[in-house]
């Protein structure tokens, strides 16, 4: 599903955020990405989302070198990836329902069909009863779950998450991770960047460890 081939990323000529990255993630796999802050986790995810292009090497997603995508194709590429952000990137001027339906709106899904899918996604994250609420009325954990619902409403084949449990207490964090595991179980490839080592050690999935932009360990690989 994802392949990094000799990938390096420099910012502003000097600073090397990522270097010599070589790894593959199979379809349907669940992978954690860990390392200290500044180790390059976010940069790596940004490369997959094609927010940036690698300075060296190739990033292949589903067999395509995504650096080759024309700027006009990038939006359509991004629609196929669900992304959960640490600060969840919700829009505060619209309801939970409208937030979750945003990707479907962008894709022009017919409203009745969209409503059905939004409710299904909200149901999955246990927030169906809050669909009319505004994001500010929700707790941090609930907001994150709305973010997850938005990421999966599209039924993406690939789900990325950047520190999805960053600001949550251990119990809520475990719940959120459980959600990701559910999605993985139905075949979604999941990649989660997190520095919550204690939590991810308990979950028994593959762990990619980054240090100073280099891959230093690949544990539990199949």
């Amino acid at each position: 599903m994802i392949a990094f081939e000799h990938v390096g990323k420099r910012y502003g000529g000097r600073f090397e955020a990522l270097a010599h990255l070589n790894f593959r993630v199979a379809r349907g796999e669940m992978v954690f990405l860990t390392g200290h802050s500044g180790a390059g986790k976010s940069s790596l995810l940004r490369l997959i989302m094609r927010l940036e292009k690698p300075s060296r090497g190739r990033v292949l997603v589903a067999g395509h070198d995504i650096a080759q995508l024309h700027a006009s194709q990038v939006p359509f590429y991004r629609r196929q990836i669900g992304v959960v952000f640490q600060d969840h990137q919700l829009l505060f001027d619209r309801s939970v329902f409208r937030n979750v339906s945003l990707p479907l709106e962008i894709q022009g899904v017919e409203p009745r069909e969209a409503a059905r899918r939004v409710r299904a996604a909200l149901d999955k994250v246990g927030l169906l009863h809050r669909e009319k609420a505004l994001p500010v009325e929700l707790s941090g954990g609930e907001q994150q779950r709305v973010g997850i619902a938005r990421a999966v409403v599209n039924k993406p084949a690939l789900l990325l998450a950047d520190e999805p449990t960053g600001n949550l207490d251990p119990q809520l964090s475990a719940d959120i991770m459980g959600l990701f595991e559910d999605f993985n179980r139905i075949g979604t490839t999941v990649m989660i960047a997190s520095h919550d080592l204690a939590l991810i050690a308990r979950l028994h999935h593959r762990i990619l460890r980054l240090r100073d932009g280099r891959l230093v360990a690949d544990e539990g690989a199949v």
């Binding site: 927010l51 991004r78 990137q89 962008i106 899918r117």
Partner: protein
Amino acid sequence: MKRAATPRQTGAAPRRGKRLAPKHRPKASPEATGRRGARSQQTRFISRLRAWGRHHRAMAIDSLLRLVRHPLGNLLTMLAIAIALVLPAALWLTLDSAKLLDAELEESATLTVYLETAVDEAQAARIEEAVGAEAGVVQTRLISAEQGMAEFQQSLGLDDVLAGLEDNPLPASIVIYPQSVEPDAMGQLAQRLETLSGVDEVRVDLAWVERLRHLADLGRRVALALGALFGLGVLLVVGNTIRLAVENRRREIEVVMLIGATHAFVRRPFLYSGAWYGVGGGLLALGLLGLGNHWLSMPVAALAASYGASFTLPQLDMTGSTILLSCSTLLGWLGAWLAVTRHLSSIRPR
């Protein structure tokens, strides 16, 4: 709308990536695939077209609601647009009426041949014949001395004074409607007519018709230049307003771009806002023009009456109003397009 997804699948369960994984598609004979492909491509195209129309409608309404939500500020923007449109439009209208006047004048461009006072009626009739035979003369009208006197009395209202005169001091005259109102042609005609016997003087009154025409020409150019300048002003007003709107919704734009919105999608609501500003400004401009017309019509009519003429201020007709409204809408749209496009490149999802 037919969808490829099975209706039974109701959960948010992400399926194995269909689009990312072409090899997971069920294998079928190439022929069947081709036929199904063509049909699904067609339905996909139609559903995309529908989605496109839906988003246009939604954004048109949404941007209008956003305008209505802040009525005062947006009204001021529209008023600025309206004022910028009213000035060149009013000037153009004035010139248009001058053109009407000009056409009337052109029709009345004549030469007057004054005969010597000694000429009697029979002679005058012969001279008129001779004049009518000249090349370049379309029509002639003989005004005898008595008729001239009568007209003079009528137009001046000086019955008593003139009645006191013993002799008619006016000569008979012939009014000539020439074929060409070009100054050169009329000058030559006048010279030829002056050589006829019994003709005292030929008068050509064309210089001021010419002057008026030049003036109107100049005015029209000024109006066009002003129109271009004020059009640019409208672009700037709308552009600046939209720039602020984009800045206000920066976060929203970043988020939708993160989840796969195209530039066209992001641009659309702002383009509609710009067009609405244009529509509002155009309507206000029409209102202002109507108001101005109403305000000026009384004194203008009085002024015209004092010259013994009837003259009404020109009004924008249906075509003119439509042109003004479409121009302002287009300018609003264009201003928004420029502002958003310039701004979008600076917005990159974090």
